[in-house]
Structure formats: structure tokens, C-alpha cells
Subunit: 655 residues, 2 copies
Amino acid sequence: MNPAEQDPKSTRTRKRKPMVAPTAEDLAKKHKEISVAEFFERNKHILGFDSLNRALLTCVKEGVDNALDVCEEVYTLPDIKASLTKEQNDTFHIVIEDNGPGIIKKQIPQVFGKLLYGSRFHEIRQTRGQQGIGISAAVLYGQLTTGKPARITSKTVSGEAAYMLEIVIDTHRNAPRVVSSNIIVWRDENGELKPSGTRVEVTLKGRYIRGKQSIFEYLRSTAIVNPHAMITLIEPDGTKTIFKRGTEHLPGHAVAIKPHPAGIEIGILMKMLRLTKSPTLQKFLMNEFSRVSKRLAAQILSLSQLKGEIAPRKVKRQGAERIINAISQVSIMEPPTNCLSPIGESLVKKGLRKEITAEFVTSAIRRPLAYSGNPFQVEVGLCYGTGSSDDTANILRFANRVPLLFQQGGCVTTKAVESINWRPYGLEQRGGKGIPRGPVVILIHVASTNIPFTSEAKEAIADIDLIKDEIIRALRICARKMNVHIKRKAKRKVHLAKLNLIEKILPEINQKTSNNLGFPLPDISRVVGEIMDSYMFKSTVSYSDLKKSYEVKIRVSNYTETRKKFKLMAEIAEGALVRNVHPDPLNIEDELIIWEVAGIPSGEGMELSFELVGVPKGDYEECVLYQKGLNERYVFGAEVPPEGGEAENIAVVKT
Amino acid sequence: MNPAEQDPKSTRTRKRKPMVAPTAEDLAKKHKEISVAEFFERNKHILGFDSLNRALLTCVKEGVDNALDVCEEVYTLPDIKASLTKEQNDTFHIVIEDNGPGIIKKQIPQVFGKLLYGSRFHEIRQTRGQQGIGISAAVLYGQLTTGKPARITSKTVSGEAAYMLEIVIDTHRNAPRVVSSNIIVWRDENGELKPSGTRVEVTLKGRYIRGKQSIFEYLRSTAIVNPHAMITLIEPDGTKTIFKRGTEHLPGHAVAIKPHPAGIEIGILMKMLRLTKSPTLQKFLMNEFSRVSKRLAAQILSLSQLKGEIAPRKVKRQGAERIINAISQVSIMEPPTNCLSPIGESLVKKGLRKEITAEFVTSAIRRPLAYSGNPFQVEVGLCYGTGSSDDTANILRFANRVPLLFQQGGCVTTKAVESINWRPYGLEQRGGKGIPRGPVVILIHVASTNIPFTSEAKEAIADIDLIKDEIIRALRICARKMNVHIKRKAKRKVHLAKLNLIEKILPEINQKTSNNLGFPLPDISRVVGEIMDSYMFKSTVSYSDLKKSYEVKIRVSNYTETRKKFKLMAEIAEGALVRNVHPDPLNIEDELIIWEVAGIPSGEGMELSFELVGVPKGDYEECVLYQKGLNERYVFGAEVPPEGGEAENIAVVKT
């Protein structure tokens, strides 16, 4: 915005004679441009600076999110330090330091001293920061509340020394003003020269809290879904917490892609047509979009009755409309998904297990889709059986691996949870609406090249139908699995009571009676059989830390009077390696070991066993058994196999 | 933002060799400025365009809010027309026309084709639009989804003809591009020349709905709190609804004020010091703030150890800090409140009565305060006794006379309602938290020179403590009054049952018995007295449309055996004129008529009556009676007067 157009005098209030109506000409004099920095200076709450405690959190968040983004961008394992010191009653000094590539001197003032300036806005790929507002907003809030400039220290690998700049934002012009600039030798706490990195220091008004919406909680949640990062927090009272690295593997690198033609809006297409450097319309279609081959471009051109040779800027609104229509008629490959970097099934589960000890953990990872042309992907984890069942379900929300701690009520994730009737799945819920009650923790992650946040504070995801539908689908998959678990648990209780009767109580009575009467111990298996008249299946699972494998033992007892042939199936963990199967199975397929049992004589039993390798500890806590061939009514501990396989695992993908 | 800095080529995705880490220099090349129009083009949901139905509503809302603002600004009674026509399946043409002052030709492209451009951002006074984003956002959304330019027609009083311009926004530069420009003769539907006004036409994608979050509902609610406006709606199916003007009086004109020193942030003060034209610090303090006299300026200067003669721009951070400290130590008059234009008690009640028929309506208007230097005022209305008591309370939210239809959960108004334990006040509420259940409608209006909206869509007010506290206080005042009503209602039920016994059932039994037995009718008053042993008070209220007055009759019956002196008090409506009081009262004071009754003989009664003039019909539905001198236990239908008057009416003002 041009500073020359701004007249400082006019910020003063005009005196006006009362009740003399101004004319259009009078009003015109008052019209003027508003700088985006001035806008946010006035509306700082929109950026997440609406209360003293949230202000501190937002500042740390913007710094850490940037640090994580930039480290991933240069394939570096992030090592991030956040420290807070109290300067006065409500004034804090925040330092965020990373081991990223550094920022070249010329860019530093722009990056930290200008709102709407950044490198990630124009790229289509999953990043935490996208708006080019966050960190400069922290600088703005600091100078607004304390008048102090932000201090930036940065060193690049190729730079000989580090630069230390003090910056304020001239909000009137939305432009940085460098207050001081120095060259320094940057050493870390061990006195070693720092190879590269950036340190941001902001002094601001705030209040330091602990608890649910705290900096500690934000960093803890961040560490859970970013296990490749090491994060050190030094709190104002000096407490030092290190969230250690859980893996040396960087998450899948999100690659920038070109826009996908499906869902592109006509206004965007017209702008692209106007600004492109492609000489012809055909080249434009092929070069500027992903998934458009020469053949497909020809198809689109033919359907829209446009010639491929014309200059793109010659295409007007009607032409653009025809192109949009043509695009909706041809079939185009889905957008490339390497622009996304989901958390992944194993990490979702691990994250939940870290968060909470639960009897049952499940997850559902959806396939990537696109809303208005923006690729996105939904991941959901659910754990059941923890804490008091009177509480409402605890929802952990993440967007592009960043925990969302505020505005839960306004977030599409919450709306998705609330819109499901959880009662058929076994949870309590008033009126079949709202957040269910029960011992449940739900993790929801939305990854996208463009998360539709409800405001610049990036705390809640807007209510986009397609995203909500995807979350609901993933939640239902988890809910079904949870329901199977809850039902099995109830069945198992009955089963165990029966087993207890057969294996403990009856033999004890037998023993005592014969002892008292002085008779020899009679064989009660026939009596048991008559009482039970059923097959009993029992599996026990144990993990060996030494062998790093699960050992599974199955015992089948026939308490009926007949002997029948049947098939026994044991469910194994996904991707597990099976060994030492005893007796030899008929087959191992579809995550099932299948045995054919020729028949167990009445009153007798048999033992089966196997080992599973390659399953992380905690991922296989029970072995589910199925049988085929025996009458369900006389079977305890094994289910009839579901028809057509685990249909619930097959995601229905909307295109 | 400087277009020269933007390189169209760089909007294309860079190709990158995988896994070769980019350097700081590589990253620097990707950094660039983001135009605010591009930002919102990508994040249109932040502006309220997140779904098809909301998009239509947001567009109408921005147009109507602007029209109301501009008409009030020139003291004109607004006459606004909004019409929607369906062009295709999901494409609508919206026209908003007002009778405002018009816009001069030069300004039209800026006002409609540039985001963050406006006349009301830099003024401190209550207006609907403040951001300079709204209407240009509608233009942006229209061109994004249909590619069509917006068409603006405007005529000023002094202009000879009207201008009709077609405008698109060059989002890359956040600048208007005029597609066509014509001079026309603008006639209204009756063929008359239009003296002045503006018409905005936008074609956009959307979905037209009815119901709770509809355009109809938005206009209906707008009409309730803006009864000086006439609003015509033509729906896509041709249905025409006119929300008629309820008053010819314009609402109190909100006058622009200078900032108040209390609560000013140091960053703002430093900016003002830097940009002021005042030659000396003393003049600066006196000229640029409201409520700073010469004496007060001297006081501030002395406390901050600064000389009044120095140039303001010589004052650095430390000096500014001292000024802020000094301001917090001196006592300053509260900010002028003529910058606000509240709805007012009568209109709040009228609005609620229009909305719903209720047995009880009350309101609480708080005194204006300031948060972070921004004057604001809270008004609350509550009505009880309507609809099913199973539903949760219905909350009607308004900000600067604009109804808020979305994001209820994220709004400070809702949070205030939820934070109150409503059970002691007589409403059902699970766990004493959340929105209460019961036959209740609550209206909350927040008026401010700067409503802290949670996003640019202006649908929810941020959770500012001081604002929440004020809403809670106003709600509690209404809740207490509602509770008195609920308790009185319960008492009256008992009272009426007793009265029924005395006045109907006993005499009937007496009649029948004597008829059957053939005895003459005996006097049962002594019997009644023995049964009742009490004083009975009964008031009846009726409104005469002819005389435009309330007639109140009171009957007191003494069913005790003794005769006692007592005082009788009848509550009258605030500001009412009393006439024809019979018998002569002892006094009329504090909204009470007070009689001294020498005594009523046992078994007898007396009649009292009066008339009330100047009370709107519906505002005085019952006459509450108090008595002093009789033993409470033997009195039905009159209360003991509350000690120290209606303490609940006295608002506690936090400064």
C-alpha cells in the first residue's frame, strides 16, 4: 500500500457540525486505504492474541511451527528451543531458536516485519504456516503491548557470521523498520560455533499458565505427532523439559504440486489464463495443471470448442466457463498425494497410546481427496476404555501436524463428532447428538495443502462438507471397531464365567465331595459336558521382550458328546510375520491363520500355537478366533467369520 | 502492495530435484509479498463464504449493512431493496439498492474493487461495517465463482446523472479494474428520477434457503432492531416481503470521538507520537485524546517527568511507558458515549414481543464502558413463558444492530449465557452449565466503536473478559426479575385456588344445601373467615384502546376476625402518569402508589382503583401489590415490600 496516499492528519477525528447531513463528496474525503498491519493491529484477537495467556501461546506456536516447517524443507531433523522469562508482572521475553538453514540478511526484515509475506502461500503442498502472517503478527503484538522491537539472529551455512537485527513494523505502511543491525559470532550454550539457524526474540504482554490450553500442552501434543523433532522448553520458573526425538526418520517430504483441474474456480482459471507465460492454450493446460496429459488437453479443448493454438489471454469468461464444463466431463487422475504428509496409522496409534493407557486402540486413515481443488486427507484414531465413563469424549485435534487447542466448538472436527449418533456404537449420548460420553479419546488429523481455517489464528477448521463427510466416515470405521470390541468384551465376560465354572468350581466341588465322602475322585467330564454341552475356545497372548515377538496359545475343549470337523481361524496383526505355527495350518491368508481340525473327541481338548514377529509391542493385545462348521449356539470364545471379510475396513471413497 | 514486485512466472510450481536440500539462498527466492485480495481469494471461508447458502446471505448482509450505515450517516431514513434471481442451478443475481447519498464516480472502483479500503476504519464510532472488506469481498466471491464483474450504479444529489460501472478485482494487485463505465438516467420502478442512491449487483454461486440461518431471517431480525429502516426483499421465487418502518425517528447518531487515554496500548501511543502534527507534547495530549483537559495534560506530564514543550516525536519508548503509567494514575472522565447508538430498553422489549408472545418480558441496559480503550455497551432482553420448556433457550445475538446468525458456539454472548448457573433462577440446566432449558428467549446486543469479531466474517464476538462480565451482569439482572416472576406465578396459583374456594365453591355449596333443605340462605362469612382466616388481595388490569390507558382495580377482603390498620402499595410502570386514584393515596413515589387503610371490618372488603397513562400497550400486564402492617402469614395476593427498594435494578458498574 502506497504510503504517499496516507495522510497522517486524517487519523484525527474530524469535527463536524451536528445534524448537518454530509454529502457524497464529504463522505468521499473520508475514504482511504487501510494497511493490513493496521487492520490486524486493531483486530489482534483475530490472530490469536485475544487474551494474555493465549497471546504467549500464539507467539510460541508461530515460532515453533515456522521452525518445524523450515527444518523439514531442508531435510534437517529439527532441534528447537523455546524459552520464556518473566520481565515484569505481565511482560515476558520469548526466545525461539532453531537449527534450520537461516535466513539471508536482506530477507530478515521482510519475513518478520511485514504481514502477508512468505514463501509458502503460493506453493501447493502441506505446510504448517501458509499465510505469511503468523510470525510477523507476534512481532506486531510485541511492539503493540511493550513498544519493544523484535530481535532476530540468523546465520546461513554459507554466511561467515551471524546477523542480529532489531525490527519494528511500521503499521501505517505494513513495512519493516530496522532499528539496529549487527554482525555477531553466534555460539551455542557449549561455546561451539552455530553452523546455521534462526533465533527470534519477542517481548510481549502475557500470562503464563499450565493446563489444557498451555504452551506445555501445545509442545507435548506437537511432539506426539512430530516425533522427528527435539523440542526443549524452558518455562518462566526455570523448569526445563525436553521432548525427545522418537525417530531419526523425517516425515514424508511434502512436494509442491501444480493445481489440479477438478474443482478449480472460474475466477482462478481466468486469472491464470491472464498471467500465464505459456504461448498457447494447449501448452497452458498441460504446463500449469497436474494430471493433464496431451491427450487430456486435446479432449478438454475439443469439448470446450476452443483451439489449442490460441493465446491463453484471448480466452474470455465464456471460454473459461466452457473449459470448466469440459473439465467436469472428462475423467482425470486424482491429484498427486505426495504434496501431503499424513501422520500415518502407526503414529496415530502410537500418539494415542502415549497420550493415554487404553484397553483398545484403533485408527482409520482415509484416502486423499480434494475440496475446491485442494488435496486433503483425514486420519482418525480412537481409544476406548480409559478414565471415567461419565466424562464427555476427549477430542484431540490436529491440522497439518499442528495441535489445535482453541475454538473446539467452531471446528469441523467437533461438528463431525457431534453429528454421529454414537449410541448404537455403545456410547452414551443425550438425544443421539453432541459429544458422546464415555471412556473415549478421539484423535482427528486433517492434512491439506490449504487447511480452511476459520480465522487467521488457525485454531478451527471451517465447516466444509466434503471434509466433514470424510471425518464422519473415518469416525464411523473406528466406532464400528470399537463397538465390536465392546460387544466382544461383554461376551468374553460370560465366556470366562463359564470357563471358571468348568475349570475351577466343578473340579473343586468334585475334589471336596470325594474327599469328604472318602470316595475316589470320579471322572466328571461327562457331567461337565452335559452341563456345558459346548465347545470352549480360549486364546492367550504374551509378548516376549527378548524375542521381540508375540506368542499366542489357543486351547479348544469339546464338552459336547459328539465329534465334529471344523475350521479354526485366528486373526493376526496387519503386516505381521508368522512363525512356529503348530499344528500345520491349512492356509495363512487375509491376516488369518486357518486350521482344519479333523475333530476333537468328546470330553477332550487340543492346543494350537504360533508366534508373530514384526508387530510393535502393544499392537496385538488379543487374538480374535473364528470357527466354521460348528453350531454357533454350542460355541464359546470363537465367532462366526464375517461375510465377505472385514468389510468395515474398506473405505468408501467419494470422488 | 507494489505490483512490480510480483512476478507472474513465480506463481508456477518450481521443479525441484528430490532430496537435495535447498539452501537459505534457495529459500529466499521463494519469499514474496501476498496481496490481501489473493489471501482472501484463497481463504474466502474466513469472510463468510464457506458454503453455498451462507455465501448468498453474506453477500446480502454486506450490502444491507453498508446501506444502513450510509443512510444513517447522512440522516436519511433507509429504504433498502434486496432482490435475488436465480440464473442457473446454483448461480444467483443479487441486487441491493439504497436511497443513500450515492458515491462519487472516482471512489466507486476503490470502494467495491479493493479490499481494506473504507471510510469507517479510522473513525471511533459505532458503525456496522468497520473493516473496509465486506462489500469488496462479495465482489471478489462473485468473480471467483462466476467470473462476472460486479455492476455498481450510483447517483449523488449534486450529480446530474447516474454512473453505471462494471468492476472486477485484480487480486494479484488488490486493485479494481473497471470493465465498463456508462452514464445513465436512473429511474425508480414508478418512472421517477432517483434523487440519490447506490445499487450493487453481484452474480455469484449460492443456494437459497429459508429457516433459521436464512436471508429472510437475517432481514427480519435486522428490521426488529432497526425499526427506522424500510427493507424490501424479493426472493428468487418472486415472493415479495416488505419489512415496514416502525418509526420515523432515526436512531441516536453515533458521533466520531478521539481515542480515550485509558487502556491505550503503548504501540499505538508511540505511533501517534510519531505521526502527530501537534507541535508540542502538551498540545498532543490535549488535541489527540478525548477527556484530556489542560489541567489533566499537566498532571500526566508531571507524573511522567516529561516537559510539555518538547516535540512529540522526541518521546521514545521509555517516555511513552511513563506516559502510560501516568495515565493509569490520574482520574479521567469516562469516554464520551455519543459514539455509541444502543437499541434502548423500549426497543429491546418491543423487539422481543414482536419475536414471540411471552407471559413476561424484561430487559437490562448496562452503562457504557471501554475495553482496551474501545467504548462498548451491553443490552440484554429476556422473555419467559413461551414454547415448549424442553427446548434450550433461544439466543438472539446482535452486534452494532446487526443480527449474528452463525458461529453461535464461538461467541462471547453464548459463553456468557453458558457460564451462569440458571437453576437458582428457575430454569433447567444439566450440571449447572451450558445453555439452559426452558421457555426462554434471550436477546443480547453488544454495541461498540470496535466490535472484536473472531474473524472478518463478523459472525461471533471474541471472548473479551470485560465484555463477557458485562453480559453476565445484565443476564443476571434479567434472570432475577424472571425468577421473581416465576415465584409470583406459583404463589398466585395457590392464591387463585383459595379465592376460587371462597368466591365460588363455598357460596355454591351454601346455595345448594339450603335449596335442598328448603332453608333460607345462611350467612357463611363467619365460616369462611374461620376457614380462611386471612386477607385476600386481588388486582385486575385492563387496557383501554380508546383512552390509551391502563385501568387497575384492586379488591381487598378481610376474612379474619380482627380489624387492623395497614399500608397498601401498588407498583406502577416506569415513567407512567397516574390519574383517577381512588381513594386518595397517602403518597405516590418510587413507582409505587401508597394508601393508608384505616382498617376493614371483619368479613368485609374494599375497592381501590387508578389509571395509568403513557405506558405502551403490553408493558403493564400485572399490578404487583405490597402491604405493610398485616401478618404475612394471613395475607394472600400482596407481598412484603423488598427492603431498600428494587436493589436488583441498580447496575454495578466496573470502571
